[in-house]
């Protein structure tokens, strides 16, 4: 394995991680109240159906949450505030995305750790320089052993 391959792979993964973070953390552009309501509804899980956002669901609970989002935005509260209100009632469960975007780094860190362990294992497998490495050396060692044993028999 070439010496630079491992560091290069690690560097590429770090670059990927940074790119993911930048995409996840980029601030939402300023929006109209309707767009804000729609964006917030898309972040919340519909409480009485599975795996749908409040924006997509047509259940009564989703409609009630949309109505409440509209009201609170009209009352001048920020989307982050309103999100916190729902988290306080339902728990983090209500959020379709985890609170901390750092969680997205976990698979990348796990991959890096895997690469590191694999590299370490490869280094461990590389034969030590003192050991015979090709067929001719092995033959030499064998010949020497046979000679030694013959000497023992003669002696």
């Amino acid at each position: 394995m070439r010496r630079w391959a491992l560091p290069a792979a690690a560097l590429a993964l770090v670059a990927l991680a940074v790119a993911v973070l930048l995409v996840v953390l980029q601030p939402a552009p300023a929006a109209t109240r309707q767009e804000q309501a729609r964006a917030l509804a898309a972040e919340l899980r519909c409480p009485d159906c599975e795996s749908l956002s409040v924006a997509e669901s047509r259940t009564a609970a989703a409609a009630a949450i949309r109505a409440e989002i509209e009201e609170q935005l009209a009352a001048g509260r920020s989307p982050a505030d309103i999100r916190d209100t729902f988290v306080a009632r339902y728990g983090e469960w209500i959020l379709l995305q985890p609170m901390s975007p750092l969680i997205w780094l976990v698979p990348i860190v796990a991959l890096l750790a895997g690469v590191a362990v694999f590299g370490w294992w490869l280094r461990g497998r590389r034969p030590s320089p003192s050991a015979p490495t090709d067929a001719r050396d092995i033959a030499a060692v064998e010949r020497q052993r046979i000679r030694d044993e013959a000497d023992l028999l003669d002696g």
Partner: protein, 177 residues
């Protein structure tokens, strides 16, 4: 080999332990059970019109322990738990308030349910819009909130009440068996 060999024993704790921990704790959890963040917090302010047409506000609960029961006539487990609620309301009348929240249902169906399964006489807030349920963080009936005299939520039962749940949780809101 010698480099790895010396550390090979580490493989067991580093790989096996976290994976078994994940399997034991993660897979044992029911993904449908939702932790209740309201426990230990004041009951959110809720209000609405009862089936009798009266205005009801959670401020009226102050000073007395309460059970807030979210139910619907179409909800089968609500039928199972109903006799327990009737029992508790009768037994602890005077020191415990029971309030129903009718979840996504019609007044007619609710009346039919009470005629068939018994009417405890407690107020039922008609939550056709779902706003009360959303204020409480309800995901589906039956759910019951145990609120103490100070207005703090002490327990949140998701699913039907049982005699065991009542015996264990009522003391938390100051109702000794």
């Amino acid at each position: 080999m010698s480099r790895l060999g010396r550390w090979r024993w580490l493989l067991v704790p580093v790989l096996v332990l976290p994976i078994s921990w994940l399997l034991f704790t993660g897979l044992g959890r029911d993904p449908r059970t939702i932790p209740s963040p309201l426990i230990g917090k004041p009951l959110p302010s809720i209000s609405g019109t009862t089936l009798d047409g009266a205005q009801w506000d959670s401020a009226s609960l102050a000073g007395k322990p309460a059970l807030i029961n979210v139910w619907a006539s179409w909800c089968a487990p609500c039928v199972t738990e109903h006799p327990l609620l009737l029992d508790v309301a009768r037994r602890d009348a005077g020191r415990l308030q029971v309030v129903g929240v009718l979840y996504q249902d019609t007044a007619d169906s609710a009346a039919a349910f009470k005629a068939r399964h018994g009417d405890g006489g407690w107020p039922d807030v008609d939550d056709a819009s779902g706003r009360v349920a959303v204020s409480l963080g309800v995901t589906g009936p039956p759910e019951t909130f145990f609120v103490d005299a100070a207005g703090i939520v002490r327990y949140h039962q998701v699913g039907p009440l049982t005699a065991e749940v009542l015996a264990q949780q009522l003391p938390l809101i100051g109702i000794a068996p």
